[in-house]
Symmetry: C2
Subunit: 124 residues, 2 copies
């Protein structure tokens, strides 16, 4: 799907992204920085994975992910500050262009976490 303009605006601002997966022992959550997220031409979110081991394990059994991100510096629905709730499916990519480009930028990346967006809802 096409990424909302406002979400692209948020990615340009400083901030923390949260990524939730579900494992046998319940939800798990990890973070990355807005500035680390790259949007692929096909609209997937590409995120460098340094650790994310439990996220990888969870995704292997259930590839559904929730992602939230926001910025107080972008105009929202009720004034300054906006945020998004993204629902999607994720894969760990350890070879090919999506990984190589990430590895070139983030030497510590052991994989690219590629998220295909099903929905991106502006929550505020």
């Amino acid at each position: 799907m096409e990424i909302p303009e406002k979400l692209l605006e948020v990615l340009k601002k400083d901030g923390v992204v949260a990524i939730a997966t579900l494992g046998a022992d319940g939800p798990h959550m990890v973070n990355t920085w807005n500035s680390y997220v790259r949007v692929a031409e096909d609209g997937r979110l590409l995120i460098p994975a340094g650790y994310f081991h439990k996220t990888e394990t969870n995704i292997a059994a259930n590839n559904h992910v929730l992602v939230t991100l926001g910025s107080s510096k972008v105009q929202g629905l009720n004034g300054p500050g906006t945020g998004f709730l993204i629902k999607g499916t994720a894969a760990f990519v350890t070879a090919g262009p999506d990984f190589e480009a990430m590895k070139a930028r983030f030497g510590w990346a052991r994989a690219t976490l590629a998220i295909t967006i099903d929905s991106a809802t502006q929550t505020i």
Copy 2:
């Protein structure tokens, strides 16, 4: 438990907090701002709830929550930028001092989401 100093430092910086709960239909995630979070004297995190309806429903059945927050402006384990993963249990409080104080500050608050911290792990 005692809140780590660095977590208190993060709460003073601009940023987005993510709160994950688990429902029958999978994980759910909502956000608030670092600046909205108050730390009670007993160490609970108190957060104003405007919407959070699905979070409330989920918590009624399973009160475990995950919370992440961070700031690129606070020194972390590997340089600038730090983040925390909090595990805890949550309750919606709609009366008494924990609600009244929140309501006085945030007129739109319909409840206080009170989170008792089991663990707060600095992840970066």
